[in-house]
């Protein structure tokens, strides 16, 4: 019997995703566990495995389709010799639109395929990505040069009606429009990740009362310890390792969180949540955004364990292969821009966490010790704090603990 393969929910928050690629084609035999397709969600690219076996009878959603809602049928699996129905049940929801990006990418192809003889000018039928707007709203929008696709409808089922357009027409023009350069521009459709970043960070920065505390930390002792540790490592083979400064700072953050646990917390409307484990989210930049894989229980792990885990997480993050639980649910974030030589910066809190540490580059500079000027490697770290959870003195106390751990780095190995 024909069965539908549905768009899976690959994470608890996933409501839609992009069907990135089919790894099987129509007619292919499928065994349970075979990878059928790759799906790009808000966070990562993940594989869809077959549950049943059979023949991939029909692909309902083409590769590249964006915004495919969870539970939309994406393909039909049939038994050998079985006819392929157009759809399995009449009540199946309609397949979502093919990606607009695809039609932009291949206009030439489409045009070539069109019949050479085009009779009269025929208004195009509405595509599936149609905008629901009244004819009057469309006309008034056109007369006022308003992009109707940017409006939110207040009519039945969100239909854009005259009052919505009139409200937009009377609204002050956004300064952004003036800022658009006169020269040629091109538009890049938002990736799912870009949309999530925009939404989450806007929400974080506009709803969390941030404040920032900075401190300078001397790195020389830590750098010296790192050299000693790395010197112990085998140069290759299973026993080889190379601890990075970042690995040590992750550990230092975890140790500091253990010393000042009030920072390892979350704010909710009803209560404050305090975490036992120091699960450190590490910001990793990837081609179209960033992601924060988590080094769990970093306080309990050795530098070598942290180093191996972090390396693996970063690698898979850049390949888009992280599992949801590997980037969801940390308790504290670290963003390190030291490798870019930045002097200092402050970061936006990654909710529901209450703090994030922004780590800048270590710089050689003179410091006064006693009555002498001596050279030292100094880095500025800035803690961004949710004031609903953490007060200034607590933040300062935590930074002081962090500095003391970094400047006496044996704390990281005991």
């Amino acid at each position: 019997m024909a069965t539908e393969i549905l768009m899976p929910a690959l994470s608890p928050t996933m409501t839609e995703g992009t069907l990135a690629r089919w790894l099987k084609k129509e007619g292919d035999t499928v065994s349970s566990g075979d990878v059928l397709a790759e799906i790009e969600t808000d966070k990562a690219t993940m594989e869809v495995e077959a549950v049943d076996e059979g023949i991939l009878g029909r692909i309902l959603i083409e590769a590249g389709a964006q915004g495919v809602a969870v539970n939309t049928p994406i393909a039909i699996l049939v038994e050998e010799g079985e006819a392929v129905p157009d759809q399995v049940t009449k009540s199946a929801p309609p397949a979502p639109a093919a990606a607009p990006a695809a039609s932009v990418a291949e206009p030439a192809k489409k045009a070539a395929a069109a019949p050479a003889l085009t009779p009269a000018k025929v208004a195009p039928a509405h595509g599936k990505d149609r905008i629901f707007a009244s004819p009057l709203a469309r006309r008034i929008a056109k007369q006022n040069n308003i992009d109707i696709s940017k409006l939110k409808g207040s009519g039945p089922h969100g239909r854009i009606v005259r009052r919505d357009v009139e409200a937009a027409a009377s609204a002050p023009k956004a300064p952004v429009q003036a800022a658009v350069a006169a020269g040629e521009t091109r538009t890049v459709p938002h990736s799912t990740m870009r949309k999530v970043i925009a939404k989450r960070l806007t929400e974080a920065k506009s709803t969390i009362p941030h404040f920032y505390v900075s401190v300078d930390v001397e790195l020389d002792a830590l750098l010296a310890l790192r050299s000693q540790i790395n010197a112990l490592a085998a140069s290759e083979g299973e026993e080889s390792f190379k601890i990075s400064v970042n690995d040590m700072l992750i550990k230092a953050v975890a140790v500091a969180l253990k010393r000042v646990p009030a920072v390892n917390a979350s704010y909710t409307n009803e209560t404050m949540i305090l975490y036992d484990d120091a699960d450190i989210s590490v910001a990793v930049s990837i081609p179209d955004g960033l992601i924060t894989p988590i080094v769990r229980q970093a306080d309990k792990k050795s530098l070598r364990q942290i180093s191996q885990e972090a390396k693996d997480l970063v690698k898979r993050a850049r390949e888009g292969k992280l599992k949801p639980d590997e980037f969801q649910g940390g308790t504290f974030s670290v963003s390190n821009m030291g490798m870019y030589g930045v002097k200092d910066f402050s970061a936006i809190i990654n909710p529901p966490q209450a703090a994030i540490l922004a780590i800048a580059a270590g710089r050689r500079q003179p410091v006064i010790k006693g009555s002498e000027i001596v050279p030292a490697t100094v880095m500025t770290v800035t803690l961004s704090v949710d004031h609903r959870v953490i007060d200034g003195s607590t933040a300062a106390e935590w930074l002081s603990a962090f500095r003391s751990v970094v400047e006496s780095p044996l704390n990281l190995v005991i």
């Binding site: 009244s134 004819p135 009057l136 006309r139 008034i140 007369q143 207040s154 009519g155 039945p156 005259r162």
Partner: protein
């Protein structure tokens, strides 16, 4: 012991109240209706429906007297006036029973009696006391109360209906015999419908109006066509009229009417006073609330909320236009808002109005004059029914369809119709106006042939490229 505490209590069982109750029940809310007289209210018992039954009879009488036009011959045409009236009552009775059945099916209890607002209890519920002949027969409570008590005929000093010689709509609906001479005061929907009924049954009818034209809320052109048609039918129409004091004998009424600088005394057997209506705001216990009453209507916001939280007013009691379909629509909107659904406030310019005189009149939105007054540059299209095949085939060539568009946006600002069956057709324009269609969609719409409704299409074409058949 039956249930006394509800989510919603609706006071009044007319087209506002009973519809509110049915919608509330559909949405799973517990609801009760308190009704003092008849389920269905004025509309069903003393308004819309019984008048339509009478007008159908008068239309048949008109056709019977026009038989030669269709090639028929008949002699000694007569009618039993009591049977005509009895039929009208039977139609109302049947529908009122139908509403009782609908409410029963929806498990909505109906409390017979006069509902009065009581105090607000500590738990946020409102008491509603049901009175029957001064005795409280039930004490109910609810989180929300919808007032839907309707309206009644306005009584002008000197023109008070006496139930014998001077009638309100109520007596005019149940006449014992056909008056030979009738004066109708007021040419709104109610006045013109009675003028039409009695004239088509054979009474000598005079219709007086203080405004410069009959059907004063309609487009001027429509009023003019209506007046011409009425006069052709033998109705004497006096506009810009000033009425003097009535003098009555045992069987006659004399009314001095001044118009155009001349005063004439009109002597008739009966007078119908149809000079507007007033809201039923008395004895509702409004003094126990913050509800604001402006003249005889409860002041509400666009979602029917009164100044007192959790008390709503819908239909005639909440003000003009006094139309059953406005009451029913407000009922649904009000209940859905209570249930937390997304609702849209009613735009009065999207409420159609229908008058069932002969010829019928129907309209929606701005008249040409009102559109200009509002600052629109308009495009107007007109199409006479005399150019419509179906109207001619039916022997009903009298009438006009008129459209008013915003020249700038193509918005259908208003539509005005007079002629056969126009009350059944106006919804086409109402849908266009509610859905914000422009002339383009209306022009692209295929209207069926042969129908009178083709004239609606032509009236749109006339406003733009030009009508095809005129």
């Amino acid at each position: 012991m039956s249930q006394t505490n509800f989510d919603i209590i609706v006071v009044g069982g007319g087209p506002g109240g009973y519809v509110a109750a049915l919608r509330a029940a559909q949405l799973g809310l517990s609801v009760a209706v308190v009704e003092a007289n008849h389920l269905g209210g004025i509309c069903l018992n003393w308004g819309c429906i019984p008048t339509k039954a009478l007008l159908r009879a008068s239309e048949i009488n008109h056709l019977l007297h026009d038989l030669p036009a269709y090639g028929f011959k008949a002699d000694n045409i007569s009618f039993d006036f009591k049977a005509v009236v009895a039929r009208s009552r039977a139609v109302s009775g049947k529908l009122s029973g139908g509403i009782a059945h609908l409410l029963k099916k929806a498990k909505v209890p109906v409390f017979n009696g006069f509902g009065k607002l009581g105090e607000l209890a500590k738990d946020g519920t409102r008491k509603v006391l049901v009175h029957e002949k001064d005795a409280v027969t039930a004490t109910l409570s609810a989180r929300h109360v919808i007032l839907a008590t309707g309206a009644r005929a306005r009584k002008l000093p000197g023109l008070e209906p006496d139930g014998k010689l001077v009638w309100s709509y109520r007596e005019a609906l149940v006449p014992e015999e056909l008056p030979a001479r009738l004066l109708v005061i007021g040419s709104g929907a109610i006045g013109t419908e009675f003028a039409s009924f009695y004239r088509n049954m054979g009474s000598e009818v005079t219709l007086v109006e203080v405004a410069p034209r009959i059907l004063p809320v309609e487009d001027e052109e429509i009023s003019a066509i209506a007046q011409k048609s009425f006069e052709k039918q033998g109705i004497k129409v006096i506009t810009s009229a000033k009425l003097g004091a009535l003098s009555k004998t045992a069987s006659e009424v004399s009314v001095p009417v001044e118009a155009g600088g001349k005063t004439q005394t009109i002597v008739v057997d009966r007078v119908i006073s149809a000079v507007g209506i007033v809201g039923n705001v008395e004895n509702l216990g409004l003094e126990n609330t913050k509800i604001v009453v402006d003249r005889t209507h409860i002041v509400t916001d666009s979602l029917c909320r009164t100044a007192e939280p959790s008390i709503y007013a819908i239909g005639d009691i909440a003000g003009a236009p006094w139309l059953a379909h406005k009451a029913s629509h407000e009922a649904v909107m009000c209940v859905e808002a209570i249930a937390g659904k997304t609702v849209h406030a009613i735009d009065p310019t999207k409420i159609p109005g229908c008058t069932y005189c002969r010829p019928q009149v129907a309209s929606v939105g701005y008249t040409e004059a009102k559109a200009k007054e509002a600052g629109y540059k308009v495009r107007v299209g007109k199409f006479p029914l005399a150019a419509n095949g179906k109207a001619l085939a039916m022997g009903e060539p009298e009438g006009l369809i008129k459209t008013v568009f915003d020249a700038k946006t193509g918005e259908l600002l208003g539509a005005h119709m007079i002629g056969a069956e126009v009350t059944e057709m106006i919804q086409g324009y109402v849908i266009a106006r509610s859905s914000e269609l422009t002339e383009a969609e209306l022009i692209e719409t295929i209207f069926p042939h042969p129908t009178i409704s083709e004239s609606m299409h032509e009236a749109v074409l006339a406003a733009y490229d030009g009508a095809l058949h005129f």
